[in-house]
């Protein structure tokens, strides 16, 4: 909201010496953030009103030139010709007797152009007659700016007349303060902020001449939607009457284009008082002007040239023949003020803010009017604002007053029961009753302090004040938030982070400590990414939550896997010249159950907010949502460790992805089981399924060549994705201490030849099981395939350690346990000792 300080000063006694910057600081202290302070026109130095006395046409030059004498007042003439200056001018749109604006020597115009006395075209030119463009306040015409006859005296300072030098505050107004979207509202706030007097322009009706003409009748079909409608009809309007310069200047300063006098005045009064107004061409009206609900199938063409289909939830202003406008949002094209309009009917109304907000939202149409009406406008303003408009149209447009009509249903006033101690209780700071009362009165409240709690009747211009807490906020705000002290409340003794929260941190630290780099990708994915990864059509990962308004048509889904984001981040790093990249991400994914729809439900629960929702309501709300577990994703390309002296970098292999999962399991005290898996986008022959106690938690291994090629990623990149929530939940928080046996260890190695498709872990598990209690540890240390074993077979070498709790093992005991393992492997897998 742009606020010219000069306009503000009409209603509030801001000390003369306060700059715009200082005014903005006062407003800031009461909660109005000033985003900038601009000065209208970059003009410095004497700029005065001049009266053109004589014009001499100079014809000896290539273009017509005028030599003028201009009366500029005693203070601005020169010694030779007191009060008069000779000026050479190239423009031709002015005549002797016109009032113009003169930049006398020493004045600096926009572009740092300083006027000096100079000889030109055979004359001394002692100043400049200015155009709007030269003054930097517009570019609508090239000719000289001519002031209305008699509107000023030669020698007058032209700055205030043109609104030049006026400072304009750009204020952001929070949505609860609709009243502040006007000079009236901001002037009141400025007055309160510095305790100076305020003249309210929004209470007294302007004096109008006696009515004399035909009045257009008014009606409202629904007082819940429109409880006040005032019409003022004016005739004999001169559609060619110009808008006064000061009004144009002010509208320009608040960012509104000048259109015609009648339209400009509706805007001017709206910015001054805050009441949106709409002027119709009265000759286009048939019968009664009525606020009513639109009928299905009706349409209206709005002023922006768009034909809009209406529904029964649209409130319109209509006459007996047609819909004239979208009430409070935008006028209609049919009845708009034109160059031939001579009779004007002005609508000023009070609408239900929710109705306007809904219409504005439904039609995606936000106007200066709807912005104010949806935030709430003073219900007493329509008659005041429309009288102000009528007065101005009579004064500047030659109109005559024909009459007023209107309908209303007055609401009950708002009276709040208010404990004067409440502000102190909320703030933690003492406010004496007298200050509380004074602040409430300054806002416009009438306060009955005869009984406690007080009765506070709020002013009509503050529909936002509806409950005691609203008044509390105003008391603390006006007294100053800076007066609130600082104390630290004592929370009950805490128990710190939960185990899961601690474990999640440990997982991140562990992975980063292994040399992996954490990324945080966007959760948006698309079908093309599933396709590139080779995820099959029926895969549950394709059953993803769908956005109604995705930023990109390519990524309308919420991720069910972290891999698309990781492959994107890997591609970006590779494109930036990195070949060895190890990434991880810990984020939630959104997993729908088979029953849940990707687009949600059509009739979601909406519990009342006037009480705690029931357990059933809460359960129904939860049931809307997908399961959102944390996943861990890891993606490795190139070498896990960089090249270093004496160590050749080895590219990350399928086993590294599995190792990262297993090591994380060890860090968290969870044993992760590995089995052969088959799940896109992994290479079907190099994919491990990871489980905890038989419960699948994810996959690790090398990515399928086809997927890598589709994604433009390096060959042999490897990945891991697992359900981290499940892993953390299984974490062994309180580990049991092992028995430390100290009798000598016996070490045995065995090499077992099995068919190539037998899983090493399966053999290991069988041997471990069969070797019994004495086996302390078993590890796979070599896998051999080649000429030393039969075709289609491989040799698995295991290192076994035996130890007993209570004795040194005898050689026969060890041999027996070892043989038991070998025999079991032979039985289960046809393994033979090599």
């Amino acid at each position: 909201m742009k606020i010219p300080v000069s306009w503000l000063r009409e209603f509030v006694e801001i000390p003369e010496n306060l700059s715009g910057r200082e005014v903005s600081e006062l407003l800031l202290s009461v909660g109005f953030e000033v985003e900038g302070v601009d000065t209208v026109g970059d003009v410095r130095g004497p700029l005065v009103v001049g009266l053109v006395k004589t014009i001499e046409e100079l014809t000896d030059f290539k273009k017509p030139i005028r030599w003028c004498t201009v009366e500029v007042g005693a203070a601005h003439g020169n010694e030779a010709t007191p009060g008069i200056r000779g000026i050479v001018c190239g423009a031709r749109n002015f005549s002797e007797g016109d009032l113009v604006v003169v930049a006398v020597p020493g004045t600096t115009l926009p572009g740092d152009f300083t006027i000096a006395t100079r000889e030109t075209y055979g004359h001394i030119s002692d100043g400049m007659i200015c155009s709007v463009r030269e003054l930097g306040i517009g570019d609508e015409h090239d000719g000289i700016l001519i002031l209305p006859a008699g509107s000023a005296t030669p020698g007058d300072n032209a700055f205030p007349i043109l609104g030049l030098g006026d400072e304009v505050l750009d204020i952001s107004v929070t949505p609860d303060r609709g009243y502040a979207l006007s000079m009236r509202g901001m002037a009141r706030e400025a007055a309160i902020s510095q305790g100076v007097s305020f003249t309210d322009p929004g209470v007294a009706l302007a004096e109008l001449p006696e009515a004399g003409g035909t009045v257009i009748p008014a009606a409202s079909d629904d007082y819940q939607a429109c409880d006040l409608l005032v019409l003022r009809t004016l005739g004999n309007y001169n559609p060619a009457a110009p808008t006064p310069d000061f009004i144009k200047a002010r509208l320009a300063a608040v960012g509104v284009r000048s259109i015609s006098l009648a339209v400009d005045l509706t805007n001017y009064v709206m910015f001054e008082l805050g009441q949106p107004l709409h002027a119709f061409d009265a000759d286009k009206i048939t019968g009664t002007i009525r606020a009513r609900w639109a009928k299905a199938g009706e349409t209206v063409e709005t002023l922006d040239g768009i034909k809009r289909d209406l529904t029964t939830e649209d409130l319109v202003i209509a006459d007996d023949a047609r819909v004239l406008s979208l009430a409070g949002v935008m006028g209609g094209a049919y009845s708009e003020i034109s160059e031939t309009t001579t009779r004007v009917v002005l609508e000023a109304a009070h609408f239900n803010p929710a109705v306007i907000a809904k219409m504005s939202r439904r039609h995606k149409l936000s106007s200066e009017a709807s912005r104010r009406l949806e935030r709430g406008v003073d219900r007493m303003l329509p008659p005041v604002a429309s009288a102000r408009f009528a007065q101005l149209l009579i004064e500047h447009g030659g109109a005559s007053f024909e009459g007023t009509s209107g309908v209303e249903q007055a609401p009950d006033p708002i009276v709040i029961s208010f404990d004067p101690n409440l502000p102190g209780q909320v703030a933690g700071h003492t406010y004496d009753a007298a200050s509380v009362e004074k602040i409430l009165v300054s806002l416009g409240c009438s306060v009955d302090t005869s009984k406690t709690p007080w009765s506070v009747r709020t002013p009509t211009w503050r529909p936002d004040l509806a409950a005691a807490i609203d008044l509390v906020e105003e008391v603390i705000r006006i007294d100053g938030y800076e007066k609130v002290p600082a104390t630290l409340p004592t929370a009950p003794a805490g128990r710190g982070l939960t185990e899961l929260q601690k474990l999640q941190r440990r997982a991140g630290l562990h992975l980063a400590g292994r040399g992996l780099v954490e990324v945080r990708n966007y959760p948006f994915v698309g079908v093309a990414e599933f396709d590139a990864l080779g995820i099959p059509a029926k895969d549950s990962r394709r059953h993803a939550v769908q956005l109604a308004n995705a930023l990109s048509d390519e990524q309308p889904l919420m991720r069910t896997t972290l891999l698309p984001g990781l492959t994107g981040a890997l591609a970006r790093n590779i494109s930036r010249g990195f070949t060895d990249v190890a990434l991880f991400e810990i984020s939630s994914v959104s997993l729908l159950s088979a029953k849940q729809s990707a687009t949600g439900v059509t009739n979601p629960p909406r519990p009342s907010v006037l009480q705690r929702p029931s357990a059933a309501d809460i359960a129904a709300l939860e049931a809307l949502l997908p399961e959102q577990p944390l996943h861990l994703g890891v993606l490795l390309a190139g070498a896990l460790n960089p090249a270093a002296l004496g160590a050749k970098p080895t590219p990350a292999a399928w086993s590294d992805a599995i190792d990262i999962a297993l090591a994380l399991g060890i860090e968290l005290g969870v044993e992760i089981e590995v089995a052969a898996g088959d799940n896109a986008p992994w290479h079907p022959g190099r994919c491990a399924a990871l489980s905890i106690n038989g419960e699948l938690i994810g996959y690790a291994g090398e990515l399928a060549p086809r997927a890598l090629e589709n994604l433009g990623l390096p060959k042999r990149a490897v990945a891991l994705e697992l359900n981290l929530s499940a892993l953390l939940a299984a974490a062994n928080v309180v580990a049991s201490a092992p028995a430390i046996w100290t009798f000598p260890v016996a070490k045995e190695d065995i090499a077992l030849v099995v068919k190539a498709d037998v899983a090493a872990t399966d053999v290991l598990n069988v041997v471990r099981e069969a070797a019994g209690q004495l086996l302390e540890d078993i590890r796979l240390f070599d896998v051999y395939e080649g000429s030393q074993v039969a075709e289609g077979h491989k040799s698995l070498a295991f290192a076994l350690r035996f130890r007993a709790q209570d004795r040194t093992l005898a050689a026969e005991e060890v041999a027996a346990a070892r043989q038991a393992g070998v025999d079991a492997a032979a039985k289960s897998f046809g393994a033979s000792l090599r």
């Binding site: 929710a354 509390v472 929370a491 687009t599 439900v601 949502l625």
Partner: protein, 369 residues
């Protein structure tokens, strides 16, 4: 070896005379001192203490001496051998020390070639700043609360006194699931976690809720459709705005240094009343750059304060919607953007750096901010 001869005069056995033995010792010590390596010393040891050495040969003669002479000759022999052995031990130690020193010099390496053997990992600063903030509040006794990112519209808006027609609920700001009427959104703030806390936790409530949130902004250098917030919520008996101010000051000092304070400016949020914007005193210039063109401050643009977040006293309507009696309990809430906090604290100039996953960015922050 000859048999003992009782009449034998020791003086006549010249090899055992004091002079001769002294000569052997002196020769041995000269040779020991002259040995320049442990190998040379080994030869010297053999020559002067070995079986064929003059001392050993002389020693054999002792047995032939008459008993009266044996003791004296034995004593002389012992002293002579002791002197040689002591010289040998001393020289051995000297030569070993020299050898060890030479070996260390010989084995020296360029230790600066050891860099970069292991890859450098890193944690994202958005992760670690969440942990850092959580730690500040956990130390005060707060609990860390979490909630889902795909959230019901009721928890994200209705329960927070954000009316159905509030502009924030339009598709211009909020990501809806399925359609605008599905009742499911991507949470636009972490405030639904506050609602969940009020619905599910025992009173009093002291929680800190960091997390990922979503708005329909296109990504540019200062906006992102996905960003992070941290919110704090306290519901207890007698909680005041002064408690809010003191908590924010404590937070500011914990994150930005001793003595840094916050400033509250009136504002509006549907879920708090009174509501305020939170400004942070500039932790770089501490306000000295204001009206001081000679020492401008880039962090606060010489304004002395940095916009940090929003806060307020929990609106009684929100307490009612979650079943908490506003006549007994009051509370405050505050919230800050984490990207913004990281940007001004760490001099990050482009939002995109935080979302693109460039390894250089994350690595710069190590394991924690």
């Amino acid at each position: 070896m000859s048999a003992p001869n009782k009449s034998f005069d020791p003086v006549e056995v010249t090899t055992l005379s004091a002079e001769v033995l002294a000569g052997f010792v002196s020769e041995a010590i000269s040779a020991i001192t002259a040995a320049n390596s442990l190998d040379e010393l080994k030869e010297v040891r053999l020559a002067h203490t070995g079986d064929r050495s003059p001392l050993s040969l002389a020693n054999r003669e002792i047995g032939a001496l008459p008993p009266a002479a044996k003791a004296e000759a034995g004593k002389r022999m012992g002293e002579s051998r002791g002197a040689v052995n002591s010289a040998l031990a001393t020289r051995t130690q000297e030569l070993e020390t020299l050898r060890d020193a030479a070996l260390l010099i010989e084995e020296s390496v360029d230790v600066t070639t050891a860099t970069g053997v292991r890859a450098q990992g890193g944690r994202h600063p958005l992760t670690t700043i969440q942990e850092q903030i959580a730690d500040v509040f956990v130390a005060l006794g707060y609990q860390l609360a979490e909630g889902p990112e795909v959230e019901s519209e009721w928890l994200n808006f209705d329960a927070l006194n954000i009316a159905p027609d509030h502009p924030a609920r339009t598709m211009q700001d909020t990501f809806f699931i399925g359609s605008e009427d599905s009742g499911i959104v991507l949470r636009t703030h972490t405030s639904p976690v506050q609602v969940r806390s009020m619905l599910n936790r025992e009173l009093p409530i002291y929680v800190i809720c960091p997390g990922r949130v979503f708005r329909t902004d296109e990504l540019d250098s200062t906006h992102s459709p996905v960003f992070h917030q941290v919110e704090g919520l306290v519901i207890d008996k007698g909680i005041t705005m002064a408690d809010l101010k003191g908590t924010l000051d404590h937070f500011a000092q914990s994150m930005f240094g001793e003595g840094i304070v916050t400033r509250l400016r009136p504002s509006y949020f549907p879920f708090t009343e009174p509501s305020a914007e939170v400004d942070l005193q500039c932790f770089v210039c501490r306000g000295t750059s204001v009206d001081n063109p000679d020492a401008p401050c880039r962090t606060c643009r010489s304004e002395g304060w940095i916009e940090w977040g929003g806060c307020g006293m929990v609106n009684p309507k929100v307490l009612v919607a979650t079943g908490i009696d506003p006549e007994i309990y009051s509370g405050f809430a505050f919230g800050m953007g984490l990207e913004r906090t990281l940007m001004f604290r760490h001099g990050i100039t482009d939002m995109r750096d935080m979302v693109e996953g460039d390894v250089r960015f994350t690595r710069a922050f190590g394991l924690g901010v």
